[in-house]
Symmetry: C2
Subunit: 176 residues, 2 copies
């Protein structure tokens, strides 16, 4: 399964592509950042983010897109821009019929480090280890995007198994 | 000048098109609402908003788009959806090279009623009067979209005049 993780932001949008299934070593297919100039007007910045995300979708053809869930109680000054950048990422994915999944920062941290309160350095260290990289990806937005993709591969499959189990019980089908 | 006003929202996105210049009677070219089902996933809802806004831009070919500026301190439960819907509207306009302008709710209310603290009914009544309609447009999101377009026609021109005046002073060109 190939997943594109997106850590949304107006100035820096982290993007990372991970291939994998639970229980097997993961592989990084690509990582980077979509940047927009802070002095450009908001509409133009959103167009640049759209072009950037589209280029990543074209090049890597992921089967799913994982985007960080934005909370309004976070940093109030930047939250609107984050929400707007995440909207563009979700729009690009859904327009292609790709499933979009949102994961909270705590879910992502817990998935890759075991603790929902891990700091940036810990997340970067675990992403480096799990993907067998030589050094932590920089900037942090790029590492966070990879962490989102990893979280999705692990959680998504767990969720699917749970859904399948629930469906089995509901249809009275014997468990295999 | 033809302006498309957009009152952004995930469930209801008000849209209104107004033709006019300051000092002349205004004319409503069209008004409506782009709706998305509350039970659809967020990515699909953003795709539906994109299609809706694109259809309005195709049909009415406005020269500018005015979008309500979203504040994070507003209703926290709905502000993320509003920010995301506004991002799609700004993206659609900027992608076509149309200028996008943001106006705060107070600016819009002050422009059409004279008071930044006017209520919905007052805004609806003034929109009805200014556009010489038989009844206030419904729902309120549609009336708000028209108010945004009116605000933009009046404020935008004032801003342009100010910019022209500043430019004249700077270039030492005699005022006419």
């Amino acid at each position: 399964m190939r997943v594109l993780g997106v850590d949304p932001g107006l100035t820096r949008c982290g993007v990372g592509v991970v291939d994998g299934v639970p229980g097997r070593p993961l592989r990084m297919a690509g990582v980077g950042v979509v940047r927009t100039p802070a002095d450009a007007d908001i509409g133009h910045r959103l167009v640049l983010i759209e072009r950037g995300i589209e280029a990543w979708l074209d090049e890597y053809a992921p089967q799913a897109v994982a985007v960080e869930r934005v909370f309004s109680q976070h940093n109030v000054r930047t939250v609107m821009g984050t929400a707007q950048a995440s909207a563009v990422a979700m729009l690009c994915a859904s327009r292609r019929g790709l499933p979009v999944h949102l994961h909270t920062p705590s879910e992502v941290k817990a998935a890759v480090t075991g603790s929902g309160r891990a700091d940036k350095a810990q997340v970067g260290a675990m992403v480096t280890r799990l993907l067998r990289l030589d050094a932590p990806p920089k900037p942090a937005d790029a590492a966070d995007a990879l962490a989102l993709a990893i979280c999705h591969i692990w959680r998504g499959t767990a969720t699917n198994r749970l859904q399948q189990a629930v469906a089995r019980v509901r249809t009275q089908e014997p468990s295999t």
